[in-house]
Subunit: 333 residues, 2 copies
């Protein structure tokens, strides 16, 4: 198993990407290709007394797509030698089995789609995010690859996320739901009503519509939605966590007693942070791509990178893409 | 000033609706018509040693539209004598100046639209929600009245929310933004790009696109979006607050020390709760209706009902609807 890690992707690259890669090499025995500026990567690797030199190689890439580049597709086309392109091309040329990146998500989608193409029968790629729920985790797809999906695209997302849930999240019979503004079949836009019908007839374990308030309840294993709504929801969730923490800290500053109290509750705060940190869940798979690509959060920690590498390995080992191709072709018959 | 209060609307009706109405009558000197089951309302009123009898009347309504009725428009048509219909008709027949309800939002929109109609020039009504932000509050419109809006509808929401922000939220020059998945003008669906253009040319203080992560930053005073996304975002926000609280309480149960700590931090928790409780902000105005209707949260407290009644009075006093009609007709010239 050889994983190409985009060493330059993410807010804390190449520090955490190299660190996560070294840990993954040690823990899982994978081969790792660190892709990016060779000097910077080498400087990071030199910090280790001993790292598994036989397992880790450096693949030089002279450019980087920035985290905040607003036109990532254009950036991917222009920066031919960017770390994400070089990493993806290692997979294309069979020099690696999978890519892990904590870089610009749009760039990862664009580079993977342009260079690897889509799986046979798949019409659009989708980004699936593993969300923490009150009980277990849920998968939300799509969170930004396809902002104006047709009902057929959403059906394909359901089929793909069902497979991912079964093989990677170890759920025997994932409950599939459609994100909507009410539970009744008649709710939502015409496109959503059509999707409801397709999902009902799909043979999947479709449990109907789910409302925004139920996203974190854990009632559904795979929540299907368009990329526009998924992206907004994801960013709103992130900002609520940040805003709440900022507000709470501001209040604590007003009182010494409250600060002492906060210290005593710290285990509960830390458990909350851990329980709601989706970067712990191994990153977001790009589904529908003819290859394996896991996108980690830009703010990923070492542990998150390591987990993403682990998931990338599982994605390959469990032949997730082959299952997708088979089930999509069944749907066509 | 006479306000019709839907006494049967909300999770804790008629207890909190009557209580809020009595407090509003005392504090603001308004006349209040309590609309609903006369016996139940009378039982509530009897609990008070003295309430302003000259200011409070009961208007009997024999039916109620339930909070969870999934087809509120149908319910409003069938239950002619429901409390929401009777309250709205008091406004229609000039027996009241405004309606306040904590009942089914869909029923309020349907009853107001059917019975009062829209303001001249307005194509669709919109529900605006006052959201707490890190600095001040922001208005989010629409959160469910219009799930598939045209660009022209979104422009009208911007015009209406601008006026509401100025007169009711006391903001001199509200910053208007469009909820999107990126800051650039080129982001989002075709419909959103067209809306961006309309807003740019509108003469409003349009500050461009805003992402999900900035909803709570306070950077924008009026955030414009379609009713589908607004509704999902609103419900996600509510559920995050509930899920986080549930998770935190579960963690606290594991440790006595942590529970003591939580007690010491209580002032900070309470401040957080108060700061993020949008029912404190006076409810959600239905904008575009030819009349005044404020919808409070179903879980409203007495204080929230009282605040909503106050806002309803201000809406009438500041002639918000007349300003809307004038500015919409300017836009048409």
């Amino acid at each position: 198993m050889k994983i190409a890690v985009d060493a330059m992707g993410g807010d804390n690259a190449p520090l955490v990407t190299v660190d996560g890669a070294v840990q993954a090499a040690n823990d899982f025995g994978f081969q790792i290709a660190l892709v990016g500026d060779r000097d910077l990567i080498y400087l990071e690797l030199e910090k280790y007394k001993g790292y598994p030199k036989k397992q880790i190689t450096i693949q030089h890439a002279s450019e980087v797509v920035g985290m905040d580049e607003e036109a990532p597709t254009l950036a991917v086309r222009k920066k031919k030698n960017s770390s994400i392109n070089v990493a993806i091309n290692l997979v294309k040329n069979k020099n690696a089995d999978a890519v892990v990146t904590a870089g610009n998500t749009g760039a990862a989608v664009a580079s993977a789609t342009l260079n690897l193409g889509l799986l046979p029968g798949i019409e659009r790629p989708g980004i699936a995010i593993v969300l923490p729920a009150l009980k277990g985790v849920s998968l939300l797809i799509d969170v930004g690859a396809n902002i104006d999906p047709k009902p057929e695209h959403l059906l394909q997302y359901a089929i793909m996320s069902n497979i991912y849930s079964r093989y990677i999240l170890r759920k025997a019979n994932p409950r599939i739901s459609l994100l909507n503004i009410g539970k009744e079949e008649s709710k939502g836009t015409g496109s959503l009503k059509e999707t409801y019908k397709l999902l009902s007839e799909s043979g999947l374990n479709f449990i109907g519509n789910i409302e925004g308030r139920d996203i974190f309840s854990g009632r559904s294993d795979c929540i299907i939605c368009g990329g526009f709504i998924g992206n907004v929801v994801l960013k709103v969730c992130e900002s609520i966590a940040e805003t709440t923490a900022a507000f709470f800290k501001r209040e604590l500053r007003r009182s010494l007693l409250a600060r002492m109290g906060a210290l005593l509750c710290q285990p509960a705060f830390l458990a909350l942070k851990k329980g709601t940190d989706y970067s712990e869940c191994g990153g977001a798979p790009l589904l529908g791509i003819d290859g394996t690509c896991i996108v980690s959060h830009g703010g990923s920690t070492t542990k998150a990178i390591k987990n993403a590498i682990k998931v990338a390995g599982e994605f390959v080992n469990y032949k997730v893409n082959q299952h997708i191709v088979r089930e999509i072709s069944y749907g066509k018959c």
